[in-house]
Symmetry: C2
Subunit: 494 residues, 2 copies
């Protein structure tokens, strides 16, 4: 064989006894059969036409036809007149003798454990799946889908997709679509008192990505970062995955204990905080601590990552301004996301960064994934510019507030076992075990709730705390009463 | 002021002389004026209604009205009867005295350089922007937009967006939509001889992201990775950004010099290769070297990252099978992307990983950005399942082949200065300077071409090589003759 003459099949059939003179059609049918048996070609999948296969594989049409004939004869594919060839709905192999070992290689799952990186091992504590997306009561941080105006969104989607020109189809700028950056700057500026120009906005896919870009732009492996304890696990894991050492800083009624952070790691490069509504405890970072945090960052050449994940939802008192808005020395990086306030499948969020850091963030985004998908950026820009974001926020703010009231009324029944923290904002509330329940393991209680179809998170999921507790979402309004009753029964018998 | 009573404006106007008793309406109008002057609120942008502003800001309606009145009087906003308030198209500030220093703080660009990370400094050599997306001749690796069936795509988009249920709107699985993973497995299996089940497919946004996930799942900071020299810069930078040390391994006519890699860094954790069509030289990795690479990976517990970025385009000879397809020991990670074969704004690519590594990759993806945006995954799955991907590949393969022939015919005129490498596949071709041009600096030549409206990449952009050269894209067919003539004049006078 000439050096570069390898084709898909000459390489692919190394285990299929080619040297014994197996003809080309047999090798092709074996290949397709293996793809069917492995599940790569699903039952009822349509195969390319014989002519197409012949061209793509560089063999004669006859060869392909013979291969397909054999597969039809063996029951792996069926031909439908005028419609082509399809993988059979029922495969014959189930009733057949097992494949010869060298042929079934692809089917033998290779599950012997492998060495993965230390950072990947650490991640195994937080496996990569999401909560079920169903309407189970109390799943924290799961935005309801019933309030989003899909009709409006889809109308804009259709309009933008049909727009002439290549703006949404070609490569885009790594920092994001200009129209979206303008819309975000206007929104964050008007609603969250963020000070910025559109140039400071970097469009990303998620809060996690914003944190990762900050970690890479500002810190090298081994550098340290403060994280709230208890706090948001994906950020902690993301910082570690970027090579940083996470320093746990406790949270009390005034938010992150800045003095504790100063004592533990004054030389940290980053501090991650949720100042408007601490995740998960729901407290606000006090004004003196905001000042202390920004002073520390200024003095030690560090940066504050402000995750304002639900700053748009506040039901009592005046809005809490962003920490970024009081930063006069370019030390705050503001992170906002549309994945929770619109819908999680969207994957659009943003970072607002001090001007001297713009280039470093854009470079990091460029290397991470080029840029965020374009068409949805355009749709979102239109959605904001045309007033739909504001309208949606007003509608959901009122609805979540009503659901919050109903929830708080119901959970009076849990008062003997749970002390509820502040519920003035956002979409969730944390409750610590009261003395009567102080000996309980929150993971056990949460698991028991799960068995009754109620999802609450154990407080210890967010990091070790002196006393356990449960975290509830209240933005959905399904079966609140039944859910609370189920939890009450579990706590009463625990 | 009570501790938590801070509102958007009480925090925001710290520099606006609040203590001197400036009234609330004045602080609000100042804030809006600053947003307008900074560009955060663009000319002609619509402001929220007075009632809305009052509610969102927690002030009386009168206060907001007074603030808006002042802005109208000053010429910053205009009111249109029945339509609301809008930022003025022409701002008065241009003819006014400058703002007082403390008021214009937001306008003073803070551009003093900051300390960024060492990895971010290294990235500055490869700043985060893309080539202009216009139809300039010869831009390498820029897929043309004229052949993509937008009408088909948009029809599927509309259909999928209107599908009832929450599949595209809620959180999704971090490894991708099941329908898309099945479609990708079938495509890669049938067309690229990849051996896989749908479970091994991880949907990502881009080749860069796939490489980053591999780096994090398999390597820790300080671990080493082989990269082709010359090679694809974003991958090299991405690996460094993930904390890895990049080991340059030279490329010759048989592709990556595996023996040189073995000599330089036998203990590397990863080897990144483009075996079907080396980027940028266009050579194929020979069969003995493929075997040697997989043997090394097996023996040293390392992994081969196979970037098959344009494996679907081959114009001469039989298709080159994927390296993954000949890997029997679970050492190859196959990376494919739809961003070049469909359209770059899409941002969907995939990794196909050995079974024992699935969890580590899914965890890494979960932490990187949760999951890839959902609706477009559904549209792409339908596009593949319904045969449009195959049809598009056949159409573009034929078109690029015609464009390639026309291009190769024209560049005969450059033979005195440039020796063209293989052009049997893909969308680009690399040419090295001939003896007559051996003293030229390829960056100078490329810059001169740029001035004439012709984009070619200097070969040295992909890493130091003994002799410079130019890299051409041939998939666009705009102004080929004029472009070649311009380059000829530049080379003849250099």
């Amino acid at each position: 064989m000439a050096k570069h003459a390898g084709s898909v099949f000459s390489v692919d059939v190394t285990g299929l006894d080619r040297d014994a003179g197996q003809p080309a059609y047999a090798r092709i049918s074996e290949r397709i059969r293996a793809a069917i048996l492995s599940g790569a070609l699903a039952p009822n999948a349509r195969l390319p036409s014989g002519r197409t296969l012949a061209r793509d594989l560089g063999v004669a049409r006859n060869t392909v036809d013979w291969a397909l004939d054999q597969l039809v004869a063996d029951g792996y594919i069926v031909r439908r007149r005028g419609a082509g060839s399809f993988v059979a709905a029922q495969l014959p192999e189930r009733d057949s003798p097992p494949l010869q070992p060298e042929r079934s290689r692809i089917l033998v799952p290779d599950t012997a454990p492998r060495r993965i990186s230390r950072r990947a091992e650490a991640l195994r504590a937080y496996p990569g799946h999401y909560e079920p997306a169903s309407s189970v009561p109390f799943t924290p941080s799961l935005p309801p889908t019933d309030l989003f105006p899909r009709d409006v969104w889809n109308r804009l989607l259709q309009r933008e997709a049909s727009r002439p020109g290549d703006d949404y189809w070609h490569y885009g700028a790594s920092n994001g679509l200009p129209a979206l950056r303008r819309a975000i700057a206007a929104h964050a500026s008007a609603m969250r008192a963020v000070r910025c120009s559109p140039e400071q906005v970097i469009v990303v896919t998620s809060t996690q990505q914003a944190v990762e870009l900050a970690a890479k732009a500002l810190a090298d492996p081994g550098d340290r970062a403060w994280c709230e304890l208890p706090g948001y696990p994906p950020v902690r894991h993301g910082l570690r995955s970027a090579g940083l050492e996470v320093v746990d800083v406790p949270v009390d009624d005034d938010g992150l204990d800045v003095a504790a952070g100063l004592a533990a790691a004054p030389d940290a490069r980053l501090a991650y905080v949720t100042p408007s509504h601490q995740y998960p405890l729901g407290v606000e970072l006090s004004l003196p601590r905001r000042r202390a945090l920004l002073d520390w960052a200024h003095e030690r050449d560090a940066y504050v990552l402000e995750d304002d994940y639900d700053g748009d939802y506040r039901y009592e008192g005046r809005p809490i301004a962003s920490l970024q808005g009081m930063d006069e020395r370019g030390r705050a990086i503001y992170i906002g996301s549309f994945n929770k306030i619109l819908f999680p499948g969207l994957r659009i969020a943003y970072a607002i960064v001090p001007e001297p850091l713009i280039d470093a963030f854009v470079d990091a985004k460029h290397i991470a994934d080029g840029h965020t998908a374009l068409l949805m950026q355009g749709v979102l820009a239109a959605f904001i510019d045309e007033g739909h974001l504001g309208q949606h926020l007003r509608k959901t703010r009122a609805a979540y507030d009503r659901r919050r009231s109903a929830f708080l009324e119901e959970v009076h029944a849990l008062a003997p076992w749970l002390h509820f923290g502040p519920a003035r904002a956002g979409m969730h509330v944390a409750a610590r075990f009261a003395d009567a329940a102080s000996g309980l393991c929150d993971r056990t209680v949460a698991a028991a709730c799960g068995e009754k179809g109620v999802v609450v998170h154990p407080l210890s999921k967010y990091g070790r705390t002196a006393r356990g507790g449960l975290v509830f979402g209240f933005a959905e309004n399904n079966r609140v009463r039944q859910g609370v009753a189920a939890i009450r029964r579990i706590l009463a018998h625990a």
